[in-house]
């Protein structure tokens, strides 16, 4: 068995308390334990993280890039969801 049979893992790192885990890259490893250790060695050599998540890439479901325009259209057309849509007189404060 070579390491091409190892699943691909996506690596997410929380850089400090209070921030989200953020995707930083991927690696291959035979299981989650080794994926975490490898992720530490390649993605946090300079104190970039205090917490790591690894997720098998096969378990990630994504939106279809070709349908993106239609998929996200409902939000693009609702400009009244943004505060700048509303007119408020110049003198009004704290709003």
């Amino acid at each position: 068995m070579s390491n091409s049979d190892w699943p691909l893992w996506e690596v997410f790192i929380r850089s400090k308390q209070g921030l989200n885990h953020k995707h930083v890259g991927s690696l291959r490893a035979p299981d989650a334990t080794l994926a975490l250790e490898n992720a530490r060695d390649v993605y946090t050599r300079r104190s970039e993280g205090i917490s790591i998540w690894v997720v098998e890439s096969a378990h990630i479901h994504a939106t279809d890039i070709d349908q993106a325009d239609a998929f996200f259209e409902p939000s693009d057309t609702k400009i009244y969801r943004h505060p700048t849509f509303y007119e408020v007189p110049d003198g009004v404060k704290h709003m």
Binding site: S26, R28, I65
Partner: protein, 312 residues
């Protein structure tokens, strides 16, 4: 979308500096060019560990040894980021590595030169990493998202690589006459191969034009080479070393240094596999893969055992 619509959409994104991401439609040739370039880049990181790894046990003191270890470990990480980027394009990682081992894929010709003395390790950090950084900083703005992100991370990590090399040479240059001579000798041997790292002249570079149009490359080989010369000459002056080129001279009109023509025969000989260390480097990589097999097998066995314990 039709093929033509896809193409228009793609070109539009390139024009607007919108990054191309893994699942986006892209021309086949764009994909193939990226796989070739990124895997070549990955191989260079990995093969680049060999000349330096050779000196870890012989570093002159513990500080230099720790630094060299950290640098070589970084190069392994950089290889991994880049192999991962090729995988996002659909390349098979094992196949990519096998292509290196069979000689089908290339790596930077600089690593086919030997590191003969300790001063060479300083010169490699200063010149080879310096040239690589010049190239990689430009690639942080490359049009393919995963490649650009890998480059940002690599550039951040590599800035110490060049500085430690320069510092190490500085020490030698301020040392005994023999130490300074050793530094000069390293510069004499690494200067021209470092300039060759930027590849053939623009007129001879087969992939350049299309790569620039697709914004895979942001500057031409000759532009980057010139920037490197302009940045490096004053650094050599501070070391008190002489760059081995009698035609090297500041050109007021151009605002750049003029320098001699590169020995392109030597360049092509090394690219074709006839450099001083080509065979040795490939043999070392193949040996590492074969002799590391038991580690990968042990990792698999251990993962299986852990899984069994969990389910029991």
């Amino acid at each position: 979308m039709t093929q033509a619509e896809h193409e228009r959409h793609f070109n539009d994104k390139i024009a607007k500096e919108i990054k191309i991401e893994p699942n986006d439609w892209m021309p086949d040739e764009y994909r193939q060019t990226l796989i070739r370039q990124i895997s070549q880049h990955a191989h260079s990181e990995v093969v680049g560990m060999l000349p330096e790894g050779n000196w870890i046990t012989r570093a002159p003191n513990l500080r230099r040894k720790a630094v060299l270890l950290a640098k070589v470990q970084d190069e392994a990480g950089h290889g991994l980021y880049l192999y991962s980027a090729t995988e996002t394009l659909g390349a098979d990682r094992e196949q990519t590595i096998d292509d290196l081992h069979t000689g089908k894929a290339k790596y930077s010709s600089i690593f086919n030169y030997p590191a003969l003395t300790w001063a060479d390790i300083g010169a490699i950090g200063w010149l080879v990493d310096g040239a690589a950084i010049m190239n990689q900083v430009a690639l942080c703005r490359t049009s393919y998202g995963p490649y650009a992100r890998a480059m940002v991370k690599i550039c951040k990590e590599e800035s110490f690589h060049q500085r430690q090399g320069y510092e190490s040479l500085m020490k030698l240059c301020n040392g005994t006459p023999q130490q300074k001579a050793m530094a000069q000798d390293a510069l004499n041997r690494f200067w021209w191969p470092a300039l060759m790292m930027f590849g053939p002249n623009d007129a001879e570079s087969t992939h350049s034009e299309q790569s620039i149009a697709w914004k895979i490359k942001r500057f031409t080989n000759d532009e980057l080479r010139q920037s490197f010369v302009d940045a490096t000459v004053p650094q050599a002056e501070i070391l008190g070393l002489t760059i081995p080129d009698e035609n090297l001279k500041w050109n007021e009109e151009r605002g750049h240094y003029d320098f001699s023509e590169i020995n392109w025969d030597e360049f092509w000989q090394v690219v074709k596999g006839n450099g001083p260390c080509n065979k040795e480097r490939l043999a070392a990589r193949i040996k590492a893969k074969e002799e590391g097999l038991w580690v990968r097998e042990a990792a698999n066995a251990f993962a299986k055992k852990r899984a069994m314990k969990k389910s029991a």
